[in-house]
């Protein structure tokens, strides 16, 4: 990837082919993987002595990049860190990082000096100069918020040895957007809720989320659409409750509540009309295994149904991890990378997507 480097001060471009083919989440035995695609923890931090990103000059933003790059990153970054100068990368590479959930949509589109550090297993990243100077995030398959939080707090503590974070005794950690102050934490789970969708119960889920003061977002988080029955739920408030309380509540109450609701709906689908359920699941598998033109939204929709079939044991010859890998690999930038075809210019990638999916599910 252009502008990527294993060494903080070496800006030599990296060969795009060195980027791993898939997201580094090995979900094999992850808890609650049937209903939770992934867990994510994000922390927002800003440096003392610098204007926030929206107000800083390009020189100040470059100084922030250098300051962070000269600080040692611990935890998942200790086994290897890859820095990518996002400003110097191609649009295709930026999109690739976005599809792997390593950078956000605004970070893809921005024009100012910015970079991202990724752990070599691609489960963790630190965006420098997103809306805040630092946006640190860690991902894990299934419901694993507690271990993620522990690793995140260890990273936060180690960074604090080299960087002074802006803090106010009343408002907590200070952020560019006043609604993120306090802990600056965003705890989220990407839920897979196909049975609730089939039973037309999603509206109740949305209402329930609102009552719990949660944000419900799409497939790639903030500002993205829901695809294939995948919904990200996350906390909306960041002030007045400790990080530990919030993570505990998500792990022990909030996410289990959605999981139980979805599992009950799945049981109801099996008990009411298993033939109809099997038909929907196997039709989806049939389309994925035989279509010649496959659009992104329909590929996600059918992968979602097949995922339900695998999770319920209706389909036994396909591992859940393969479906989850395909959910990433059918995205435009991944497809472009795998096939060597250029992105954009109105290019129709449905043929390549159909080929890739047929090949994987053969």
């Amino acid at each position: 990837m252009n502008g990527a480097s294993d060494h903080p001060h070496d800006d030599a471009p990296e060969d795009p082919a060195r980027m791993p083919a898939i997201l580094g989440l090995d979900g094999g035995e992850a808890p609650c993987l049937d209903c939770v695609l992934s867990s994510r923890i994000r922390l927002a931090r800003n440096l003392v002595g610098f204007a926030f990103v929206n107000r800083a000059s390009p020189q100040q933003l470059s100084d922030v990049v250098h300051r962070v790059q000269s600080t040692k990153l611990s935890g998942p970054f200790e086994s290897g860190v890859r820095w990518v100068n996002v400003q110097a990368t191609t649009a295709a590479d930026r999109l690739l990082l976005f599809e792997r959930n390593l950078i956000s949509k605004p970070f893809v589109e921005a024009l100012h000096p910015r970079c991202v550090a990724m752990s070599t297993d691609e489960t963790s990243s630190v965006m420098v100069n997103e809306e805040d100077h630092l946006r640190m995030q860690m991902l894990a398959p299934g419901l694993q918020l507690q271990p993620l939080a522990e690793r995140m707090f260890a990273l936060d503590t180690s960074l604090e040895r080299g960087l002074e974070f802006a803090f106010h005794p009343r408002f907590g950690y200070l952020t560019a957007c006043p609604t993120n102050v306090g802990t600056g934490i965003r705890v989220s789970a990407m839920l897979h809720l196909p049975a609730l969708h089939m039973l037309e119960e999603l509206e109740k889920v949305q209402r329930s989320a609102k009552e719990l003061n949660l944000a419900v977002r799409g497939f790639h988080g903030e500002g993205t659409d829901a695809l294939g029955d995948f919904f990200q739920v996350s906390n909306q408030t960041t002030l007045g409750r400790s990080e530990h309380d919030l993570v505990e509540e998500f792990t022990e109450q909030i996410v289990p509540r959605f999981i139980e609701y979805e599992r009950a709906s799945r049981r109801a689908l099996v008990e009411r009309d298993v033939a109809s359920l099997d038909d929907r699941v196997y039709r989806a598998l049939g389309i994925l295994r035989s279509s010649r033109l496959l659009a992104l939204d329909e590929s996600i929709k059918f992968l979602s149904r097949v995922r339900l079939g695998v999770a319920l044991g209706r389909i036994r010859d396909i591992p859940l991890t393969l479906i989850d890998r395909l959910l990433t690999e059918v995205q435009p930038a991944h497809l472009s990378r795998a096939t060597g075809c250029e992105l954009g210019n109105g290019r129709d990638d449905r043929v390549q997507r159909a080929e890739a999916v047929r090949g994987a599910l053969r």
Binding site: N46, V48, F50, A51, F52, N54, R55, E131, F153, D156, E160, E164, F165, A166, F167, H168, P169, R170, F171, G172, Y173, L174, T175, A176, C177, P178, T179, V181, G182, T183, N213, Q236, T237, T238, L239, G240, R241, S242, E243, H244
Partner: protein, 174 residues
């Protein structure tokens, strides 16, 4: 009756009332001290019109002459925060503590004080904030019970705490 400046004997031109945790504090400043603290004073020429427009958005309540407060570090005003939804720098939070406090409390389901992790360098600040909150709560209670002598003592403790005295708990209970 014209008030003199809090910092000198010159007549004050800026008058502001700040309410912190239910405790009202008045600020009266002359032109020189107001500018030192980051207030932008209107002039007789063009900028005054701009200031007036900004004030209409900022909803600043001050007696004439009207002023717009800006961050001394990055020159951000509350009007620009309202327009962009973003704050300019960490110092803005000190400069606009009350205005932002109201916005934040609304966005955070009524919460107004941080609970949780903090940087090591801020440990003393966190202790002080906790003490300030405790005193504010005691002050509200004392006023509600019409225990004005006790309320006055608590207020003195809060002033001392703001002026940098150690965050001790002595002398606040009735």
């Amino acid at each position: 009756m014209s008030r003199s400046c809090d910092s000198c004997s010159t007549p004050a031109v800026v008058h502001e009332t700040i309410v912190t945790d239910g405790v009202k504090t008045e600020v009266h400043l002359c032109a020189a001290h107001a500018q030192q603290r980051g207030y932008i004073l209107p002039t007789a020429t063009g900028p005054a019109l701009v200031v007036g427009k900004l004030l209409a958005h900022a909803q600043v309540h001050a007696s004439a002459p009207r002023v717009v407060k800006s961050c001394p570090t990055c020159a951000t005003t509350m009007a620009s925060v309202r327009e962009s939804g973003l704050v300019g720098c960490p110092d803005c939070y000190r400069q606009f503590e009350e205005e932002l406090g109201a916005v934040i409390s609304r966005a955070q389901a009524g919460a107004s004080v941080h609970v949780g992790r903090h940087p090591t360098h801020a440990a003393n600040l966190v202790d002080r904030a906790a003490m300030r909150n405790k005193l504010a709560s005691e002050l509200r209670e004392a006023i509600a019970r019409e225990e004005y002598m006790r309320a006055a003592k608590i207020r003195d403790r809060m002033i001392a705490l703001n002026e940098g005295e150690p965050a001790t708990e002595s002398g606040t209970s009735s």
